[in-house]
């Protein structure tokens, strides 16, 4: 027996499933993160068929909570990756300057006044 609430929740979970698939198809959502949502919408579908609405509400809250936590983990990881990337780009830029300076020192007369020679290491290696 299917009542009105079940029709609404069924429609909702099917719509969610289709939305996720469409986002993956358009490459707006990478597969990695879409699996979480596909599983959630399938679970939603199952719960809305077999259990009373209150269970659905509890399930929904659980899903949203876990999803939010997952995204915090993802954001934290990306923050760490960004920090590493910025560190490495700054190091690379500094090393580039070192290399340029090393190249321009033998003919100091030519390179004088050029930006690269200004940033030559302050003291040569011992």
């Amino acid at each position: 027996m299917i009542d009105r609430i079940q029709i609404v929740t069924l429609t909702g979970s099917v719509a969610l499933l289709l939305l996720v698939l469409e986002l993956v198809r358009r490459r707006k959502l990478t597969e990695e993160y879409s699996l979480l949502w596909i599983l959630a919408s399938l679970g939603l579908l199952g719960v809305s068929l077999a259990y009373p609405p209150i269970v659905l509400v509890v399930f929904l809250i659980g899903v949203v909570f876990i999803a939010a936590l997952c995204f915090s983990v993802i954001v934290s990881r990306q923050r760490q990756q960004i920090e590493r990337l910025i560190e490495e780009t700054a190091i690379l830029a500094a090393e580039m300057r070192d290399v340029r300076a090393a190249h321009s020192t033998p003919d100091a007369g030519v390179s004088e006044g050029q930006p690269a020679s200004r940033s030559a290491p302050n003291r040569p290696a011992k």
Binding site: I86, E88, I91, A93, R118, S119
Partner: protein, 236 residues
């Protein structure tokens, strides 16, 4: 044969940086200097080329811990095995650098922390002072050694510390967390007394709101850092 490098992380220190570098130059001729500009917006960047120091610059402000970590890694790649860290605002005295380096040269410490508060006579005033004292007590209890100045930004690092911290220096609110990290990874830490001038220019980053956030972070670190695995390369 050690090669010491002074690393100065700087955010908007255009007003004081030149004086800090000149002071350091005047008192230590054997010290190379690296300034890490953490995305300054005040002209610190244009100053860097004129100072005749090694420098690197972040395109965005990322945080002092990250700036320091990058500086350590760059220094390590250049072959420096001893690093002194001091602030760009002029509160640390170049004359104290020798005292900081001494335990490392004598090979009895991996990390030397300059403490502004080893003498009890010096009172710390205000909310920040009370918070620092509380933090010092908690850290001392957790670490098992007296920690008198948990937020000091004046350190010297020996070869082992440079190697480990170039990869693992905590970011965010780094000093207290670093202290926990050092003890967790069995690095030998020594405190030496240093003098501190009032900041030449600029403001401290510790407003009450930041202080509360920092306190929460540190409280979490106190619970979590001792529970973490030792990083690879740490002794024992």
């Amino acid at each position: 044969m050690t090669r010491p490098l002074a690393v100065i992380p700087a955010f908007n220190e255009a007003a004081s940086l030149a004086a800090v570098v000149a002071d350091l130059r005047a008192s230590r001729t054997d010290l190379d200097i690296l300034v890490v500009d953490d995305g300054s917006t005040d002209g610190t960047a244009s100053l860097l080329d004129r100072l005749d120091v090694r420098w690197m610059r972040f395109p965005e402000r990322v945080g002092i811990g990250t700036a320091m970590r990058a500086g350590l890694r760059y220094g390590e790649r250049l072959g420096y095995d001893v690093v002194v860290r001091l602030d760009g605002d002029g509160q640390h005295r170049a004359g104290d650098v020798a005292r900081l380096l001494q335990p490392i040269e004598e090979r009895r410490a991996d990390v030397v922390l300059g403490s502004r508060f080893t003498e009890p006579a010096r009172e710390r005033a205000g909310v920040v002072g009370v918070a620092q004292q509380l933090l010092a007590r908690c850290l001392s209890a957790l670490v098992g050694h007296p920690v008198t100045d948990p937020t000091s930004g004046f350190w010297a690092l020996g070869p082992r510390a440079v190697r480990l911290l170039a990869e693992h220096l905590p970011t965010g609110y780094p000093e207290p967390e670093m202290r926990l990290f050092l003890s967790r990874n069995a690095l030998r830490v020594v405190e030496v007394p240093v003098d501190a001038w009032p900041r030449l220019q600029g403001r401290t980053s510790l407003t009450p709101r930041h202080l509360a956030a920092a306190a929460a972070r540190v409280a979490l670190a106190m619970i979590v850092v001792p529970l973490r695995d030792r990083v690879s390369g740490a002794r024992r």
